[in-house]
Amino acid sequence: MMGSLILRTAARFLLPLLLLFSLFMLLRGHDEPGGGFIAGLIAAVAFALYLFAFDAARTRQLLGVDPRLLLGLGLLAATVSGLPSILLGEAFFTAIWWPIDVPGFGEVKLSTPLLFDIGVYLLVLGAIMTIVLALDEAEEE
């Protein structure tokens, strides 16, 4: 069963906005309020809105990958982000920074904490979508 036309349109419009916003919150999290968790929640809310407006099948389609895979990848990314330091002979989770100086544009801070935050983001999105989609599908059956 689909929601109202108005909600569907709103969802289609708000989805990219919310996703963009979530990415924004993810990337600025190290310096300003935000971070992987908040960003992941916002992304999850975006897909939940889409789910409410449309249905589980379309939401899955939109998501592209099974949320369980996102969940696993997120956990893997977050865990793995702590590993490179071990190869360098330092403790687990020692941050490594690769400031990349792009000529003309300034510095881009790639780092293991960023990878970690991305893992958090993927996990949160994957986990919440796993739950929400499963619940919704169970209801439809």
Partner: protein
């Protein structure tokens, strides 16, 4: 400026109380949800005014997130109702 902020806070606090009254009184679930939405909005307002009051712009971020996602609760509740949840609440 100080008294302006104070006055603003007074009005917002009053609004908070009034919205709470509706939330408690209901009588229907949609009535409560309306009150909840209003509460979310007042929270946005509080954050903004407080940011002004303490001169810390970061609190606007709170308002920003809430402004963008606060409506989801209402959407959720309405879905509950339309999917046949108990109506006389």
């Amino acid at each position: 400026m100080e008294w302006v902020v104070t006055l603003t806070f007074i009005m917002l606090a009053l609004s908070l109380l009034l919205a709470f009254v509706r939330l408690v009184l209901g009588p229907s679930l949609p009535d409560r949800v309306v009150a909840l939405e209003l509460l979310a909005l007042i929270t946005v307002a509080f954050s903004v005014v407080y940011a002004v009051h303490v001169d810390v712009a970061h609190f606007l971020d709170v308002a920003l997130v809430l402004a963008l996602t606060g409506f989801m609760a209402a959407v959720g509740f309405s879905r509950f109702l339309e999917r046949g949840g108990t109506r006389d609440e």
